[in-house]
């Protein structure tokens, strides 16, 4: 699965949880850049990603997520493994 396809899916899941589209899906986008993406909503967003892509993140994956680019790379890796 390509990075752009994954990004588009994440954008839809962000909209589902945060109820707005006031963000640009750049690789260096971080949670504090997006209104409402606090630690509570972070967990909800990750839940949605897991449900959509059909895998469960490990703690080491979660701790590697610094920005959108790293989130997409981890999803690509996990999708390939499953």
């Amino acid at each position: 699965m390509g990075a752009e396809e994954i990004k588009n899916t994440i954008a839809e899941l962000l909209f589902k949880v945060l109820n707005h589209r006031n963000f640009e899906m750049r690789d260096d986008l971080t949670a504090p850049d997006v209104e409402g993406w606090d630690s509570l909503h972070h967990m909800q967003i990750l839940n949605e990603i897991e449900i959509h892509f059909g895998f469960k993140f490990k703690l080491k994956d979660l701790n590697k997520m610094k920005d959108m680019g790293s989130l997409v790379a981890i999803i690509q890796e996990r999708v390939m493994q499953s």
């Binding site: 509570l40 972070h42 967990m43 909800q44 703690l59």
Partner: protein, 222 residues
């Protein structure tokens, strides 16, 4: 000045997890019967102990749910007190302690519990006090009842600061967050040189999950 108990201070290890779990629960209660984590996770106290044990067994640093953050005060071979500390944002992942805690919860809590936490979002957001990156954060102090009032918290703070200094990490301030109604804790930190710097308050909240509704940050320069 009351009696001072001569305790040995050492870093916590995995063997101390049950005592650290007790420390977290008692500190969350702040001398009351109300524990926010039980409300937040919609669980029993035993289930909370199991969740906290899972968090603490992870190889995690840089937040209050890490064994590495804690130091233990021991008397006669038994733990009588504990206190946690870490330098905010200085960990191998460069993440804030809030994000590390969030990752621990995501990794171990059932989806239904995580979804249920949204019911308390406004309380959590309102009471949250920002932690300054690069400051030494102190969190979760507990001394067993028979050893209270004997200088143990002060001794733990002294050792936590010394340990942070020896880690060769620069920090300009030491911060601690406490409910302002917890007067004995506030007085103890004042005695140690901490001063009030920030306050949050929850007004007219139904189903308050925290022991009190006013939280303050106390700071000591370093």
């Amino acid at each position: 000045m009351g009696e001072v108990l001569e305790v040995a201070i050492r870093n916590a290890t995995d063997q101390d997890i049950p005592f650290v779990v007790e420390t977290i629960i008692q500190a969350e209660r702040s001398g009351t019967e109300r524990c926010a984590l039980i409300q937040l996770f919609q669980c029993t106290e035993n289930e909370l102990r199991n969740y906290l044990t899972l968090f603490l067994k992870e190889e995690m640093t840089g937040c209050e749910w890490s064994v590495d953050s804690f130091m233990i005060a021991e008397y006669d071979g038994n733990p009588v007190g504990a206190f946690g500390a870490w330098i905010e944002g200085q960990n191998e992942w460069d993440l804030s302690s809030a994000m590390l805690k969030s990752n621990l919860m995501k990794a171990h809590l059932p989806i239904t519990v995580i979804q249920g936490m949204l019911n308390f979002q406004s309380q959590i957001v309102t009471v949250a006090i920002p932690r300054n990156k690069g400051s030494l954060q102190l969190e979760y102090a507990y001394v067993v009842p028979h050893a209270q009032g004997k200088g143990i918290v002060g001794k733990l703070v002294e050792h936590l600061v010394l340990r942070a200094e020896q880690s060769h990490c620069e920090f300009s301030a030491i911060e601690v967050q406490v409910f302002s109604e917890n007067r004995s804790a506030v007085r103890a930190y004042e005695k140690l040189g901490f001063v009030y710097t920030f306050e949050t308050e929850l007004n007219e909240v139904e189903n308050l999950i925290f022991p009190f509704n006013r939280k303050i940050k106390m700071t000591k320069s370093h």
